[in-house]
Amino acid sequence: MALRVLVGCKRVIDYAVRIRVKPDKTGVVTDGIKHSMNPFDEIAVEEAVRMKEKKIASEVIAVSCGPMQSQETLRTALAMGVDRGIHVDVSGKDYELLQPIHVSKILAKIAQEEKCDIILLGKQAIDDDSNQTAQMTASLLNWPQATYASKIEKTNGELQVLREIDGGLETVRVKIPAVISADLRLNEPRYATLPNIMKAKKKPIKKVTPGDLGVETDPRIEILSVEDPPERQAGIKVEDVDTLIAKLKEVGRI
C-alpha cells in the first residue's frame, strides 16, 4: 500500500539573517528581511520526496500556515518534488499570535481531510524554537509519534525510526498512521534546480483559512516583551595568581 504523506513547511527568517528586536519590544523585525523555509522542514520535505521516489509514498502534500508569502515557501517544497501545496492563510495580527497548538490543529484537520497516512514535520522551527507541533499533532489525532528521527524505514505496514536522544540513539517502531519529526541527520536536502523551480510554478496550491478547517486561532499566550539577550560584560586581566585569588574573594566566588 502506497502512503499519502503530509509535510509541514514554515516560512521563517533566514538562518543567516541577524535578528533585530523591534523598538517597541513587541517582536522582531520581519519587514524586508530575507525569509526561507525552516531548515528542519526542508529535511522533512526531502524525506517525504525520497519516500515518493522509493514508491513508499504515492503522494506528498505540503502545508504552510502564514501570510501570502508562505506560498513562496510552498513553491520551494514543490520544486523539491512535492506534488501539491495547501496554503493556510493567516496574516497580520493573527499570524503574529499563531502558536504551535493552532498549527497542530490545522495539520490534524488537513491530515484527516486529505486522508494522509504520515505527517512529517521539522522537529522545531528556528524562529520560535518551540518544538511542540509534531507532538501536539500526534496527540490531537491520537496517532503514534516518532520525534527527532535520523533514519526512517518502512517494514510491513510499520515504520522503524531511529531517534536521536540524549547520549545515543533509540530505535522505535510505530504503526501507520503516524507523526514523525525530522532531526538534522535524517538527510541532506537537495537543491531545487531551474527546471524544477519552473515546473513547480504550475503545481497546484489550494488556499484555505483556519475558519474553513473549523480551527479557532485565538491566542493562548500574551507576549509581554521581546528583548535582546543581555550584552556580555568585558572581563579584566590580572597580573598574577595572588591578584586573581584576591579578586575572586572580592566578588564572593571563593
Binding site: A2, P39, E53, K55, E59, L184, L194, M198, K203
Partner: protein, 297 residues
Amino acid sequence: MASLTAARSKFSVWARGSACGIVHFLSSRTFCSKGAIAGKNIEQAVYQETLLSNPPLLPEIVLNLITPDCRLWWSKVEATNTWFADPFWAFCWPGGQALSRYILDNQKVVKGKNIYDVGSGSGVCGIAACMAGAAHVKAFDIDPVACKIVELNATANKVDMEVTCQNILQETPDKDPPNVILLGDMFYDEALALQMCHWLKCQLENPQPPMVLIGDPGRWAFCHSTHPFNFRCVAKYLLPPTCKEENNGFVHSFVWEQWESILPQEIMTMNVEIHHMTKKASAKVGQCLRQALPSWV
C-alpha cells in the same frame, strides 16, 4: 543554530550560482527586450543560451535545451524570463521523452498518419513522429517563442513539420482531422488539465475518433483529471539519473493510450493511479504491453 552547516554550504553554492548568473546577464544584455524577442533575435538568444543536446531517453534526437552547462541553469528563474518568458521548451519533459521513445520504438503507431502534437514545447514528440514516418505532423503551442524553437529543433533533426501558435483547445481546425493526437506532459497544470480533458472528450466523440497517446510521469493533475477516460498503460520507462534530477519526485515515465472505441464515461470506471501500478492494478488497467528498461538499469 550551530548545527546547520549542511544548510549553510547549500546556500553559499546557490549564492555563487546566482551571482555569476547576474554578471553574465548584464554583460549579455544587448539584444533582449522583455518577453518580446522575435525572429532573428530568438535564434541568436537560443544559440547563446542553450546547447544542442540529446534528451537522456532519446539519443537519436537533438534539441536546443538549457542544460547544467548553460549559465541560465544556475541563474534565477526571473533571469530566464527576461529572455524567453517561461521557457518550458528549454527542457525535455519526462512525459515528452517517454512518448517520443514509444513512438520511435513502435513506428507503426504513427506511420503514414496525420499527427497533432498538442502543447509541443520543444517539439520533441512531433519530431519523433516525423522520424517514425508520419505523413503529416502539425505542432501546436500557444507560446510564440516555443513555435520558433520547434522550427529550429525540426531543422536540427532534418525533419519537416508544420507549427502553429493557435490555441487548439479554443479553436480546433476542421480541415485534416488528426489520426493521432500526441500529448507529451500536458497535465502539469490543474486548470489546463481540465480544459484538456474536455477537449479530448469532444475529439473522441467524432465519428472517426483519433487515437490519443499521452506521456506523463504521474503528475497530480493527470491522476486526478483523467478518471472519465479509459486510458491503458502501454509503456513504462525508468528515468535516467540526469532526467530524475530535472524532475524531483519522479522515477518513471509512462505512456497511456485511450482504449479505441470506448468513449470516456462520466463516472469513474477505473482509478488510474499510476503509483499504485502494482501487478494487480496494471492487470486491471490493461496489460502493460511493454516495459522498456534502458541499459543503465
